[in-house]
């Protein structure tokens, strides 16, 4: 039900990619959502870090995922925090299809804010700002 065109805000605070998070923010250049993966225990985790918080292996690195996710919960932000980024907009915690206990904080775009709901199936899209690609999510067409 992506029935509303996504309009970029005029302003966003951009992330400062770190040694660990660089791949996550750059993956969109190739249309890829890159999530840190542990090669020892086989699990994904987020945010990216130099060790797996589960098994403490340091054999970890970014790996592409499908970009499909489910809205775990959300909020319609109604307050204007930034000039150039007018409300309303939806902030959501989404759970990755590959492993639901990995969540991203993101925006749900491409639909009316009132249409966002818990359990909604969404997929990634990228909004490029300079050298970073922000992964946003949009409802999956039925």
């Amino acid at each position: 039900m992506s029935d509303v065109d996504h309009v970029r805000p005029e302003f966003r605070i951009l992330p400062d990619p770190s040694m660990e998070s660089g791949a996550f923010w750059a993956g969109g250049a190739d249309g890829q959502l890159l999530i840190h993966h542990c090669n020892a225990c086989g699990k994904f985790f987020h945010p990216p870090a130099p060790a797996c918080f589960r098994c403490r292996s340091t054999d970890v690195g970014p790996q592409p995922v499908s970009g499909r996710a489910t809205v775990a919960t959300y909020t319609i932000n109604r307050h204007q925090w930034f000039p150039g980024f007018p409300p309303p907009y939806v902030l959501a915690y989404v759970e990755l299809a590959e492993q639901p206990d990995v969540r991203l904080t993101t925006n749900i775009v491409g639909c009316a804010v009132e249409d966002v709901h818990i359990g909604q199936e969404v997929e990634v899209m990228f909004e490029q700002w300079d050298d970073v690609w922000l992964p946003l999510f949009t409802p999956v067409a039925p």
Binding site: P9, F11, R12, I13, L14, P15, D16, S18, S21, H46, P47, F53, A72, T73, Y74, T75, I76, N77, R78, H79, W81, F82, P83, F85, Y89, L91, A92, Y93, D101, V102, R103, L104, T105, T106, N107, I118, V132, L134
Partner: protein
């Protein structure tokens, strides 16, 4: 009795002038609160041999009115132990550390304070500047600010939404926290908002981040609160009967993040409360009143549940109608008006109020029934610390 073994007590409390844009410096207010607490205990600054504060002097403008070093220098203290830290078990963390310090003989009398200058700082535009900066976001902000989520309201609202979805919590039920705080603030001459608040006002208030409206968010203020944490053996002849720190909870059993907690209907409050009860024979049913963090109303709901005053998922029913948590109810809540109406003193105000009530100095807001044990909790998301304090004849 917990590992604390009753050795750590609170011997005095103090609060500065509290208000919006007072035209006084953060350190000035901090000194006022600390001198009042020291005098309240029947001590002098020369008796103080420890300092403990959150978050310390190195914080964004207004988030900290003064740090441990500034207070130390301003009062010419001669300390054996001090601490100023943001990375502890919430805003009550320095008080826990002070309890450890006096229990272990590092100090006899620690002044533990929290100082805020947010009203002046926000008026001066520093908060807006922080939000609108062209600088890039790193550390925790790296994962929130780019998506237009600079405020804790944005991080907490999704938790409230999920709780509503799972358990049918209504806005009317959540609104009882704001209404109860406002009703209690009428009896607190230092509270920021004292005019009556009705449910229809609450429901009509401007939305900030759904389902949290403006009245679910606390009010920034300038002010400082201090308590004196003393070694029990050092309190003979002092002014107040010592309030015993019975138990503290400082646990964090999951990752220190806002969005990765496995169960989105709990918070670190549940970890801290569970750890606290494991260390004491006091049970939830023994607690007479509660002073629980309301930086955002939903956090109070979480503390009520975490501390075992209702079953998981049943907080809405517990709050229904507001009778249970009223000043005359079975377990009064935030008797000074909380931070929602009293002002965002950020954590330590709850402990100040618990002691004030136990010493029956509440005046118009004094809990009418006999009280012996208070639960105090502060923090939200991955930040949490709680304690049980008592005054038992």
């Amino acid at each position: 009795m917990s590992w604390l073994d009753g050795a750590a007590v609170i011997s005095g409390i103090g609060q500065s002038q509290v208000g919006r844009r007072l035209g006084r410096s953060g350190l000035d207010l901090t000194v006022e609160a600390c001198l009042r607490a020291i005098a309240d205990a029947g001590l002098t600054p020369d008796d103080i041999d420890g300092v403990a504060t959150y978050p310390g002097g190195r914080a964004d403008a207004g988030f900290s009115g003064a740090g441990a070093n500034e207070l130390h220098d301003a009062l010419g203290l001669r300390t054996r132990w001090h601490l100023g830290s943001p990375e502890i078990a919430g805003q009550l963390g320095p008080t826990f550390d002070a309890a450890m310090a006096v229990t272990n003989g590092l100090a006899n009398h620690v002044v533990s304070f929290r100082s805020v200058w947010e009203s002046s700082a926000q008026h001066g535009g520093s908060r807006a500047a922080m939000y609108q900066t062209a600088e890039r976001a790193d550390k925790m902000r790296e994962w929130t600010a780019p998506f237009g989520a600079p405020s804790a309201a944005n991080w907490i609202a999704p938790y409230a939404q999920r709780y509503m979805y799972e358990f049918g919590l209504t806005r009317e039920q959540l609104g009882q926290i704001a209404l109860t705080c406002r009703a209690n603030a009428a009896g607190n001459p230092d509270a920021i908002y004292r005019q009556p608040l009705e449910m229809e006002d609450y429901l009509a208030a401007r939305m900030i981040s759904e389902p949290l409206c403006l009245l679910d968010c606390d009010v920034p203020c300038d002010g400082a609160v201090a308590v004196i944490v003393s070694r029990r053996e050092a309190t003979a002849g002092l002014a107040n009967p010592p309030v015993t720190i019975e138990a503290v909870g400082a646990a964090l059993y999951q990752r220190h993040t806002w969005d990765q907690r496995i169960d989105l209907t709990t918070m670190a409050a549940h970890d801290s409360a569970a750890a606290m009860y494991e260390s004491t024979s006091i049970a939830p049913g023994d607690v007479d009143f509660m002073e629980l963090y309301d930086g955002f109303s939903y956090l109070t709901l979480q503390w009520i549940e975490a501390l075992g005053f209702c079953e998981h998922g049943a907080a809405g029913t517990y709050l229904e109608g507001g009778e249970r948590i009223a000043l005359s109810g079975e377990r009064p809540l935030n008797t000074q008006g909380g931070q929602l109406s009293g002002g965002r003193l950020h954590g330590l105000g709850y402990l100040h109020e618990a002691c004030l009530q136990l010493w029956r100095r509440g005046g118009a807001r004094q809990i009418p029934k006999d009280i012996e044990i208070a639960a105090v909790g502060a923090g939200g998301g991955p930040v949490a610390g709680c304690m049980l304090v008592s005054l038992i004849d």
